[in-house]
Structure formats: C-alpha cells, structure tokens
Amino acid sequence: MTADPMLQLQGLRKSYGGKTALRGLDLTVNVNEIFALLGPTGAGKSSTLLASAGLVDLDAGRVRLAGRDVTDADPGSRDVAIVFEGFNLLPVLDVKDNIAFALRSPAFRETEDEIKLRVGRTAELLRISHLLDRDVDTLSGGERQRVAIARALVRRPVMFLLDEPLSALDLKLREGLRAELRQIHRQYSSTMLYATHDYHGAISIADRVGIIDGGVMQQAGTIDEIYRLPASVLVGKLIGSPSMAFFQATVEGGQVVVKGAEQRLPIEGFGTVTSSPGGVLLGVWPEDIEVGPAESVGASTGKIYAVDNRGFERAIQVETTGGSFRKVVPLSMPFMQGDACSFRIPEGAGFLFDAESGKRVSQAGEGGR
C-alpha cells in the first residue's frame, strides 16, 4: 500500500472527567481494508471510533481522514458512517426513513427519486426489503442491525466505523452478518474500522488487527505478524483461543528455566535477548505446547485442572508450578479432571517477556507460523 492511508490517528488523548480513555493512541487504517480494533471492555475502542467520527473533543492528537487533517472539522463534513452496538435506529422514524436519514440531511441531500432508488437497492442487498414500512420497534435484534448497516451503506461514506455492531446478537446471527459484511466489503471496496472484544470476530473479518488496551495501541498488524512476534504479554493474553500460555521463568547459564519444571530451554532458541533479564515470563502459543501422559521422558509435569468438552475436541486447563494454561486437545486424549500429565515446550517455540513491564525481550519469531 503506497497510497495515503484512509485514516491516521496520531497520539490521541482523551479523558472524561477523571477517567482516561485514550493515552496517546496511534492507528493507521489503509484504503479498502477492514481493520479490527480488538481489546477488552474499557480499552478505548469506542473512544477511538468516536474520535475518528469527530464526536468527542480530543485533549490532544491529530486525526487525518482521506488525506486531510480533520481534527477540528465538523463530524458532518467527515463523511463517515457509524454503526453502534445497541442503539442505532431512531424510534421516531420508520425503517425506510431511518435508512434514508442521511440522504435527507443538509450535508448529504439527494433527490427523493434517488433516495427511493438507493434505499430500495440497499434494502435488497441486506435482505430487508420486506421491512421497509415497519416501525423500528417491531424489529428483532438482527433486523435492527441490518437496517443500521443499510443506513451506513446507503450513503457510500469514505469510511465505516463499526462499534461492536454484532456483539448484541446471538452467535449464528453474528456469524451470518459478519460474512455479509465481508461480502459487502468485497463488492463495494470500502474501508472499515471494526471495534470488537471478540477475538474470533476480529480475525475472521479483518485484514489487519490492532490490539488496544489501556487507551494505547499495543500492536497492529496482520494476524500472522502478531502471532509470529507478539509485542507484549497483553497482546498474548488477547490473541488466540485459548490465549497464550505464560510461565514464570529465569535465565540461568544460557538456559531458560521454567519455575518448577524439569525442562531446560537453550536461550539461543529465542534469538537475541535484549537486556539481561532476571525474572522473565515465557510465553508460548498453546498450539505449540506438547501435552502427554504423565512421566513422559524429557517433559515437565502438570495437573489437569479442568476439562471442557467441545464435542469433537476438548479444552483442558493444565496447572503447573510456573503457571497454568489452556489448550485444545483431540477427544482421543483421555484426560480426566485431576489427572497428572506432562507438557513439553519445543525449542524455538516461545517468547520471553520482561516480567515487570510485560514487553517482549526476545527477538526471534516463530519461523513456522
């Protein structure tokens, strides 16, 4: 992408009363990409979207949209569309007037003929043509979000801001609408900033993912890049299902020693390690950890703390002296709650993080991923 980014946020700061929502957030969304903003509740996702739309007054920072600085520009002049999680439809208007809402505003006015045409076409695209004359009170949750997306779409804005648009829906509906969003994205080549706390939702829709927490962008990139080199413990905790496993460890004589574990890992496997860490956290993607029956040779011991049946597979939680982790295993592995087990971390599979700051201190990525 050599073209100018569609949206560029630089050093955004915002606090509401005493509560700080954004602490110097940077973010870049390229033209025609879906960028997922992934983070826990209260991480600053909504504030980021509202700031992009111009709906909050920033304490500091610049917002560039479609090649111009819009930091002080009117929200109405930015030509973005926004879809919220819960409340989207104006109860005083019916469905078709809700969709046509923007097209009748002073800023985006169209002729009534054009409005009729566009509303009809958009409704067809989202399969809500039969709802056009209904009151919004009578719609189901899924129908409401369809109408909201239709209203965003009908205007062809330069950018869509989607704030957990599907979170209030049930799983099936969510997956269906997510697929439709991607379809629309392909068809109309649009730029979307999609905020969610749902890892699956983020990676299934996004071209790039940004991990946000504490009002700061922790890491941004494709999901592969993030897997290959997670920037911090926070990122590890938010990525993956189950998320990254962490063990307390120390570096002793060129080896990484996991607390209470028999296994030793040569430090060369981690590439260059910046600083000389005393206490570190060893982070490993659970998919890389080999779990086997107790007393396996060359492995460390753990205990099955919980087993969670998922039908064709199951998720186990393993307690070890250095830390606990969750991992998905096939049904053929006959683990029961309370069983002893063994686990082994393959060479070159993990990352070292500073135990204090949580920042990654090892430089080698996972080659295989």
């Binding site: 509202l50 109405g76 930015r78 926004i82 409340f87 989207n88 923007a102 002073p106 800023a107 205007r155």
Partner: protein
C-alpha cells in the same frame, strides 16, 4: 384434605379485605362526596340536620365561581370568578415556562459536562427543599419594593421559581434515558445538534414532558403559601380566595364548596391525561425509555 376449611378461611379473608376496602374508600371519597353535594345546596339546606341527600339543587355557588347569572353582581360574589381566572393564568403560564426552561436545562445537564455541574444540580434541587414559609417575609418585602406585589406576573414568577427545579430534574431523568447515539447518529449524518434535539430527542421524551407539566401544574394550581402572602385583592388565586371567602352576608359555604369542586377538576383531568406517563414521571424516567 382440609379443602372445605381452607376455602372457609379464604372466604373470610376475602370478606375482611373487602370490608376494609369499603371503609377505606368511604374514608377517601366521603369528603369529596360531601363537598360535591354541599356545593349544590342552598344556604338553608346546607345547615339542615340531619344532612339532606335529596334537595333542590342550587347553582348559585357555581354561578358565582364562573361569574354568570344572578350571583354575578351580588356583593358576596365579588372576586371568586376573578380568582379562578387568576389561578388559571398563573398556573398555565407558570407551568409552561417552568417546563420550557426545565426541559432546556434538563437537556444540558443530561448531555454536557461543565464546571460546577454537580453544584448546579444541587442548587436547582435545593430550591425545592426550602419551606416556603421560611422566606415568605423576604419575598413580601422584595415584591413590594419591585412593584410585583398583588400582580399575576409576580405570581407567575414565583410559580416558575418554585417549579423549574423540579422540572429540570425530572426532564434530566428522561433525557438520560435517551441514548446519546441519537444525537451522534444525526451529527455524523450531517444534521445539527439542534435538529437532533428538536426533531429526534424531544419526540422521544414527549411523555416525560407531559408528566413534568402535570406535576408542575398541580403544584402551581395548589400553591397557597406564596399566593396568600403576596396578594391582597387583585391577584388572589382560587385557593387563597376560598380560604377567605366571606362576603357581606357572612361565610358563603356554597360558594366555597363549589370553588373546591372546581379546584379539584383540573387536577383530575390532568392526572387522567398523563396517567400513562405517571409511573415513569414519578421514577424520574429511570424505568424505561419509551
């Protein structure tokens, strides 16, 4: 097993509850019934013992209150009709303005943060904590100095001051129930906040405005303390007039009763009109959005 016994107990409970309800109803409705009955009685019937249930209705009381018929010009009737007019003007004007300002202030307090907002909200509320009697004397002096004593305009001002705080708080509650997304959607789509407020938010709280207006109207309509001290002849409202409705021929009981009935009616009408929104208004809008 003890089916018949339980049902006997049930039946007894039912009768007891019913009896209590009847007593309670008589306790509540009795005085009003007596008031309505008495308002149609002539002076002669009024004092008859035992009280007459059937008599020839005498409309002189109502004629006096509404300023029609023969009673209009009788010396004893002076001012009752005028005080009804005063009451209507003061209550309607006071309520409208209090609700108007309360709606604007409630919206600002709901949507915007400003320095000293908490203090402002408390100040607004505190205007209703004060017992009116405590400041009556000073109001009296102030109004006398400003030439507002015994004027409807002065009473309208008092009515606004007394109710705008309540209106602000109730309306803030209703606006809090309207998601901020309403304005955000409008603004992002190229409308102004003013448009969003008038065309989108206000229609969503129209029930709240009705409930607020109802409460303010009733307070203004029933207001007695200020009206009795700040008026002397011209601007007396109906409650004040009733309390001192002695004419040239002694106390006009029929007129007093008729005026009492007339005083009750607008309150009944108002409560009937806003009954749907009443619960919402009493809970300051916290129960629901719509």
């Amino acid at each position: 097993m003890t089916n018949s016994r339980t049902s006997t107990v049930d039946l007894a409970t039912r009768w007891l509850v019913l009896a209590l309800l009847v007593v309670y109803t008589i306790y509540n409705v009795g005085p009003i019934f007596w008031l309505v009955l008495s308002s149609f009685k002539s002076r002669m019937d009024f004092f008859t013992m035992p009280p007459k249930l059937f008599f020839t209705p005498d409309l002189s009381g109502y004629q006096a209150v509404f300023g029609v018929g023969a009673a209009k010009d009788s010396a004893s009737a002076v001012g009752v009709f005028d005080s009804l007019v005063n009451s209507i003007i003061v209550s309607v004007a006071g309520t409208s303005l209090a609700v108007f300002f309360g709606t604007l202030a409630g919206y600002v307090c709901s949507r915007f943060n400003f320095v000293g907002k908490g203090d402002f909200m408390f100040f607004v509320l505190s205007t209703r904590m004060l017992p009116p009697v405590a400041v009556l004397v000073f109001y009296h002096l102030m109004f006398a100095r400003l030439g507002l004593a015994d004027t409807r305009f002065g009473l309208v001002l008092v009515s606004i001051f007394a109710n705008v705080g309540l209106a602000t708080w109730i309306m803030k509650g209703f606006f809090d129930g309207v998601p901020r997304e309403v304005e955000q959607i409008a603004i992002v789509n190229g409308y102004t906040r003013m448009y969003a407020f008038i065309k989108l938010v206000l229609p969503m709280v129209k029930g709240g405005i009705a409930a607020t207006a109802g409460f303010c109207f009733i307070f203004a309509w029933n207001e007695f303390a200020f009206a009795s001290i700040l008026t002397t002849t011209q601007a007396k409202t109906l409650p004040v007039k009733i309390s001192a409705a002695s004419g040239a021929t002694g106390i006009e009981w029929t007129q007093i009763c008729a005026a009492g009935v007339v005083l009750i009616i607008p309150v009944l009408i108002f409560f009937y009109l806003i009954r749907k929104h009443l619960l919402m208004g009493m809970t300051f809008g916290v129960l629901g959005r719509r």
